[in-house]
Symmetry: C2
Subunit: 224 residues, 2 copies
């Protein structure tokens, strides 16, 4: 098993979840892991700083190799365990092109989501403007319409026929959108994608524990 | 040559330059390309929108495969032309780990640079705060100190001994830092890295044309 790996993580963090899905898909269960609390600022603890000078989660180590960024960890692990578990980079050039493109657009989706749901956290009180939050919400809605179109055009996974690194990296963002109240009626393609992938074994096994404990989400995005 | 490729680009755009360096390193000169003007809003022209619904540069096509995001295009091209030109992903797991990690931290560096130099462009007039710009400058300085440490520890390239995808993707940001007035005295490791890599043939050949025409940069970052 994966006893030479250590993951420090936080529940509900999309970057952490990406790495956990990847580890499931590559049959790398059995890694050492420790759930830390953002609320208690444990991501700024010495234990984290020893691996990750940014004091962020995930913090990940494989032997002596440290790969803390979630996309970096996904690429690294897929490369090191190419023939183990599920193949996550398709063979055909067309599907590869689509996969890489969607993976990186996924960072834009994630950023636009955060600019809405963490607005008050990012922006100090005296600098907040209703106009900015409104603009961020409109930018998120525009972004979501792009993804509706992508899913309509390319089918049930983000890079076409099979589950790929694009799904590993973007699904946690999609799940967070619905956790925060996004309407599957307004965004039916994303709703269908969410409903399909949340039943995938590697995703179920890595579902954020505090979401399991408290299945009712929030409604911050219900009008988006 | 690379006649089945088309790149629409803008001078001085870090994402465009990443793709151009990659194409040079893989001996893919001879691709079709068109220099567009951000000032004239040509990135929102139909020609761009036909390839890239976001209306952004770079917009890139290889045959029928569209890969517009710069990191996506770099990964895609390195994968399709693995054995052509320079190898950009090292073989050893330790160097790979470092390369992926630095590549993605490079996005954070780029974001923190933009939050300073494009502050007035990103934030509408009535929403600007000196306190926010000051904080962005401090965050950039903290970020730059991390990179000074990385270069001091790991030598002349970002992922160790050889030039890699980490350098392809991060060098344009470093060059922009110095173009915007960063002091090589205050950041000697970055200064040395910049001085070394700007002489690399593939980087020289793809140097932003408007920087060549007007070699004097700005001084927005001189006090960082």
């Amino acid at each position: 098993m994966a006893q030479d790996m250590t993951l420090l993580w936080g529940s509900g963090s999309c970057p952490c979840w990406r790495v956990m899905i990847l580890l499931e898909e590559k049959n790398l269960q059995g890694y050492n892991h420790k759930l830390l609390s953002f609320d208690k600022k444990e991501h700024k603890s010495q234990e984290v700083l020893d691996i990750n000078p940014r004091g962020q989660l995930p913090s990940f180590k494989h032997g002596d190799n440290v790969v803390n960024d979630s996309y970096a960890a996904c690429f690294y692990l897929e490369s090191q365990f190419k023939s183990q578990g599920n193949q996550l980079i398709p063979d055909s050039p067309a599907e590869q092109a689509l996969m890489y493109q969607r993976m990186f657009e996924g960072l834009t989706l994630y950023e636009k989501l955060n600019a809405v749901i963490y607005y008050d956290w990012f922006v100090p009180e005296g600098e907040r403007h209703d106009s900015a939050l409104k603009r961020n919400k409109e930018a998120l809605a525009t972004e979501l319409k792009l993804w509706e179109g992508y899913l309509q055009k390319h089918g049930k996974h983000l890079a076409g026929r099979s589950f790929s690194l694009a799904d590993v990296t973007v699904f946690p963002t999609v799940a967070t959108l619905f956790r925060m109240g996004l309407s599957a009626e307004s965004y039916p393609q994303l709703g269908q994608y969410h409903a399909l992938l949340k039943e995938r074994p590697g995703i179920k096994r890595s579902w954020p524990p505090h979401w399991l404990e408290n299945p009712k989400g929030q409604d911050a995005l219900k009008d988006i």
